[in-house]
């Protein structure tokens, strides 16, 4: 069955450094992958989408890479700030169905001042 894995342990990063989060998957070739941010007590908020034929996507301090050979996506936040502290979720398209995404459990990111 399809499996998607994110680091279950919290990631602690010093303010100003680059935070890198990982999303690994198995048993499928997705058409695209999405990243969301979730704050405590809130619903996820969409950040970036990257297609299978795109190596890299950027938005301000955010960068996502997608390596379909390694079956991995990396999510980078440069010049990290305490306000970036949140849980980050990745979601994988199962392109046979237009409505199904498979979600990782998320990685909690803590940016220390």
């Amino acid at each position: 069955s399809q499996k998607i894995e994110q680091n279950s342990e919290a990631l602690n990063i010093q303010e100003g450094k680059t935070a890198t989060l990982t999303c690994n998957y198995t048993n499928y070739s997705p058409a695209y992958l999405q990243w969301y941010r979730q704050d405590p007590g809130r619903g996820p908020v969409f950040l970036l989408l990257i297609r299978e034929n795109e190596k890299e996507k950027r938005k301000e301090r955010l960068k996502v890479t997608f390596d379909t050979t390694l079956k991995q996506s990396l999510f980078h936040i440069t010049a990290s700030q305490p306000a970036d502290s949140a849980t980050y979720l990745c979601a994988l398209d199962i392109s046979r169905s237009n409505y199904q995404l498979i979600w990782g459990a998320g990685t909690k990111l803590i940016i220390k001042p």
Binding site: I4, Y32, Y36, G41, R42, R51, D93, L101, I102
Partner: protein
């Protein structure tokens, strides 16, 4: 901005009760979704709807039903609540199916349901 509103932030219900979770979106989106979120697990799709009165089962529909009588409103119903349905429930909407390039999901802030 798209706004997805879930009627309750917290609910406490007893085993066997019928529970209604309501969700309203204000952007005329075609598609609406109900997910549950449990610690250590990714979001799991319960049901979705791509049009008024249309519904499709997701990954974990057992014990749930849904209703979509109006485009902006999607209700999740627990016919007879059980303790294993204690969870965070998230409603989402999108203009196009999630497989479309420019149609991310817009989520509400969730309803935390406790069944005792």
């Amino acid at each position: 901005d798209v706004k997805v509103t879930q009627s309750s932030r917290y609910l406490v219900k007893r085993t066997g009760e019928k529970v209604f979770l309501e969700c309203v979106q204000d952007m005329d989106h075609e598609n609406m979704f109900w997910y549950r979120q449990d610690p250590g697990l990714g979001l799991r799709l319960i049901y979705f709807s791509y049009d008024v009165k249309m519904k499709e089962k997701g990954d974990i529909p057992e014990g749930y039903s849904v209703s979509r009588e109006k485009k902006e409103r999607f209700s999740l119903i627990l016919e007879s609540a059980s303790t294993n349905q204690t969870s965070m429930y998230l409603c989402a909407s999108s203009f196009e199916p999630p497989s479309s390039y420019n149609s991310p999901l817009h989520f509400g802030n969730g309803t935390r349901l406790t069944v005792t």
